[in-house]
């Protein structure tokens, strides 16, 4: 059943003493003179050479657990009790001075945001060497030599020249490698990784995960991996601890947890996670079967047919859309180069249909959405919405057209004006466009709130009183106020917790069935896209490299980039760990070109049934 890498010793020797034993860990914070317990007496162990995943949604206390182990919480406002035994020694009983010798030396930690976790005014070489200087007593020259070695071990190209560079020259993936190098410099026994790949593209994520696994084998160290992504858990963890609201709800070897979860919350979590490949054989997008986290009851999902109205004229027809951004530099601020964000994009979208635009950061999917709505002005191309060319409209015409094409944004916290009541925000579009009087708008607001699953008396509250998932529902309600035909969802669910994500997606699919909405679903999360879309378009460097029906793209990808993308997605099924490919350190090429650049003409092949692939060199 298990297909771990072939020639390897068993990764967990139960007879040996665990590297880390956490017993009854309780952490409380003081907020406004009140003590709030965030971690409520959890216990778990990490054995030698073992990878344990601590998984949970936001607010579960998983990061706080890690910071408690490292002793990095502010002493003035926090209280940690229980036992944290590292190799038998209780870390909570150590003085700050001794604890300092443990950090970076016996236990190391890497964090989520590589872009801000490195000091911008110190060289990379120095930041890595520092750990060596303080813990191993090496002098500058020795530390530098050792740093070079470490940089090569984390597979950073041209390591020697990087020593004296500053962090701002590196990409996110590269910076995370440097963080790993820093953490591993003193060969710690335990590495704590707090969501290290969440902020990275999926292909880069795959590389970093492989790197961590490889280094773990080479060093013989244990890893505590904190994440919310069940796919990542299945890929790398030997055992898993599930946390909810500060409690460790369930712990088990990963394979067992996935195959037969005992607690309802675990089952709810697993049910909400989209699995790549689970839609095989289904013709239409499918709602998530929500499991109630408390009762464990499973919702029954009827198998509805496709909502796409393919026989009518498409609601949206985009042809040869081009959007470029100028970059100015030099003394006179002349245009020196351009970002080719969207290059020659063409597709169509029917009412009741969902077309997904997938790709990694910088591929232009967001810009495409914004260009269609003219939040950003395209350079050329036509955008036919309900037969009218949106680009040709004047201000009044655009305003009218905008009533019927709307957008949902990624950040639910930033999408609502903090100073306006939510009822006011939902009513505003109707009042501004003169569709309803204030009194009637009130009625409609209540109606819309109910439609998105919220209660009408919430209308007088302010955005900060709602959770992320609720805010996204409010944004949907606001977008629906004008009865649109097209909804562009720009990473609309990416910032939500797993279970909330599933609920919001179900809502969106219900609305599509009821109102015949067309969705342009922009996302980097392929597993979600698989559930939700009728058709998928894969974007790379501003171009569509492959487009077609969902089943065709998922099961029969043609373009090498599509294949690479699919291969990199972690699959949330234990026992399906992929074989390790060779580690590559590819960086995504830049879409910036100088002013004289003329893109080469692209050819497309039609494979049949609407599946079109961009010609590539074999």
């Amino acid at each position: 059943m298990s297909t771990t890498a072939p020639a390897q010793l068993p990764t967990h020797l139960p007879a040996q003493l665990p590297i880390l034993a956490v017993r009854n860990l309780t952490t409380a914070f003081r907020v406004d003179d009140e003590w709030i317990t965030v971690v409520k007496g959890i216990s778990f162990e990490i054995g030698q050479r073992e990878t344990v995943a601590i998984v949970g949604e936001s607010g579960s206390g998983k990061s706080v657990t890690a910071l408690s182990i490292m002793g990095l919480l502010p002493a003035a406002n926090s209280r940690v009790s229980g036992e944290i035994l590292l190799d038998g020694r209780d870390l909570l009983k150590l003085s700050e001075n001794r604890m300092r010798h443990v950090r970076g030396n016996l236990i190391s930690m890497i964090f989520q945001e590589p872009m801000t976790s490195l000091n911008p005014v110190l060289t990379l070489g120095f930041q890595i060497a520092e750990a060596l200087i303080y813990h191993r007593g090496l002098d500058r020259a020795q530390a530098e030599a050792e740093t070079l070695r470490i940089l090569e071990r984390v597979r950073i190209p041209s390591a020697a020249s990087r020593l004296h560079e500053y962090p701002h020259r590196l990409s996110g993936g590269m910076r995370q490698r440097v963080m790993i190098a820093m953490a591993l410099a003193c060969k710690p026994k335990l590495l704590i990784a707090d969501e290290p790949t969440t902020a990275l593209d999926v292909t880069i994520q795959a590389e970093i995960l492989e790197l961590i696994k490889l280094l773990q084998d080479e060093e013989g160290m244990s890893v505590a991996f904190i994440t919310h992504d069940m796919g990542v858990v299945a890929e790398i963890a030997d055992r898993t601890v599930v946390m909810l609201n500060g409690n460790a709800v369930e712990q088990a070897p990963t394979a067992e947890l996935f195959a037969s979860p005992r607690e309802s919350y675990t089952r709810a979590l697993l049910a909400a996670v989209p699995r790549l490949g689970s839609m095989k054989g289904r013709s239409a997008p499918q709602r998530f079967a929500i499991v109630d986290p408390i009762t464990g009851a499973v919702e029954v999902v009827p198998d509805t047919g496709s909502t796409a109205a393919v026989t009518e004229r498409p609601v949206l027809e985009v042809a040869h859309l081009v959007t470029r951004f100028d970059i100015r530099s030099g003394v006179l601020s002349r245009v020196s180069s351009r970002v080719h964000a969207v290059e020659d994009i063409s597709f169509s979208l029917h009412a009741g249909e969902t077309l997904a635009l997938v790709g990694e950061s910088g591929c232009g999917k967001s810009t495409t959405g914004r260009s269609i709505l003219r939040l950003v002005e395209p350079d050329s191309g036509t955008v036919l919405f309900e037969g009218q060319d949106v680009r040709m409209l004047d201000r009044a015409g655009l305003r009218a057209a905008r009533q019927r094409m709307q957008m949902i944004f990624q950040d639910p916290f930033a999408s609502l004006n903090p100073r306006k009541t939510v009822g006011g925000a939902i009513a505003e579009p109707m009042i501004v466009h003169g569709l309803l009087s204030r009194a009637d708008a009130h009625e409609r607001v209540s109606e819309l709130l109910r439609r998105v699953g919220l209660s009408p008396d919430m209308a007088s509250r302010f955005p900060h009183e709602f959770s992320g998932g609720q805010r996204q529902r409010l944004c949907i309600a606001r977008a629906l106020a004008l009865a649109p035909k097209l909804l562009v969802a720009d990473e609309a669910v990416s910032a939500l917790d797993v279970s909330i994500k599933a609920q919001v997606i179900n809502l969106m699919m219900d609305l599509q069935a009821d109102m015949g909405l067309a969705y342009l679903f922009i996302s980097h999360d392929i597993a979600v896209v698989e559930r939700v879309s009728h058709r998928i378009a894969v974007m790379y460097l501003g171009e569509i490299v492959e487009i077609g029906p969902r089943a065709a793209i998922m099961e029969n990808p043609q373009h090498p980039y599509t294949k690479r993308l699919m291969a990199a997605v972690p699959v949330p099924e234990a026992g399906r760990r992929r074989l390790r490919r060779g580690l590559s350190t590819t960086e995504i090429p830049s879409p910036v070109h100088d002013t004289s650049y003329v893109p080469a003409p692209r050819l497309y092949r039609d494979i049949g049934q609407g599946h079109v692939v961009q010609a590539f060199d074999a």
Binding site: L398, M407, N417, K420, E428, V432, S467, G469
Partner: protein, 300 residues
């Protein structure tokens, strides 16, 4: 099917109106930093004293009495008399009026004009922004006191001219302080949502952006009021204040300075008065600023 209720913590009872919400937010801001209360109270006392000057002053501030000149504080003249025999306490009270009027009017004018400039520059960006901000930067870099001195010297020292001069030198800081958050808020998705929903630029600026930058502008206002009062006093000290015999604090210090060797209180008393007012305003503005920052981040 609705999701679970609001998450950790934040469910408050629904506020009946935005007004009540702002009032409670301000109250909370004050309570976070107790010193801002002290600042507010002291400032209000000074304002009250200035308004009630005719009732409180024991003497006419311009009433000369050569026989009583240069007296140290006595029971009749609580703060002594100056070289013309005028009662220091009375002059102090009336001088407060001048300082406050000039300070408040110039600061308000600068706040309105500067905020408008900053918001427009931040909103439109591009050429307009660059040119406007460079102009502001040029003015900002120049020592504002000296610019003020020259302006008043040129225009002639009258109350109106002083207000104009101080307002002009105060506009660049307000433009700056309004521009940065405008740019930040402009990037926020609810503004994009507004554009998608077809709202006009004016609506977005006034209804959506302005309320979100108002706290910072108001805090700056209170701090800059302190500065305006200080500038007015400096102008008067140098001889460019409102013309004598009108009592101004700076003018009193100037006259007192001439007699500093034997009648030190003449220079000291108004000096301490200015210090107290400015300190109170600084306490107020500073406390508010501290309280506002984390709030904005928490709610936004």
């Amino acid at each position: 099917m609705s999701s679970a209720g609001p998450s950790r913590g934040a469910l408050r009872v629904a506020a009946p109106s935005p007004f009540a919400y702002f009032a409670s937010a301000t109250l909370k801001a004050f309570n976070t930093n107790k010193t801002s209360w002290i600042g507010l109270v002291v400032f209000l006392i000074v304002v009250a004293a200035a308004i009630l000057a005719p009732a409180l002053a024991p003497f006419d501030p311009n009433d000369q009495n050569i026989l009583e000149k240069l007296r140290a504080p006595t029971s009749e003249h609580w703060l002594g008399t100056d070289s013309f025999g005028r009662d220091t306490l009375s002059r102090l009270l009336y001088g407060a009026r001048i300082s406050l009027i000039i300070g408040v009017v110039s600061t308000l004018a600068a706040m309105v004009i500067g905020t408008a400039i900053g918001m427009l520059a931040g909103w439109h960006g591009g050429r307009l922004d660059t040119v406007t901000m460079q102009a502001m930067d040029v003015l900002l870099a120049f020592p504002s006191l000296i610019l003020g001195l020259i302006l008043v010297a040129m225009l002639g020292p009258s109350m109106v001219n002083i207000i104009i001069a101080i307002a002009l030198t105060s506009i660049p800081p307000f433009a700056r302080i309004a521009r940065a958050p405008t740019i930040a808020v402009k990037e926020r998705e609810f503004v994009d949502a507004g554009r998608t929903l077809g709202y006009s630029d004016t609506r977005l600026l006034v209804v959506h952006i302005l309320p979100n930058i108002l706290p910072e502008v108001l805090v700056m206002g209170s701090l800059w009021l302190a500065n305006a009062i200080r500038t007015e006093a400096s102008l008067a000290f140098v001889g460019l204040g409102v013309k004598p015999p009108t009592a101004t604090w700076g003018g009193m210090i100037r006259e007192g300075f001439e007699n500093i060797l034997d009648s030190y209180w003449l220079a000291l008393v108004p000096g301490v008065a200015i210090l107290i007012v400015i300190f109170a305003l600084n306490l107020l503005g500073d406390g508010l600023r501290d309280a506002i920052d984390p709030k904005l981040k928490g709610e936004a």
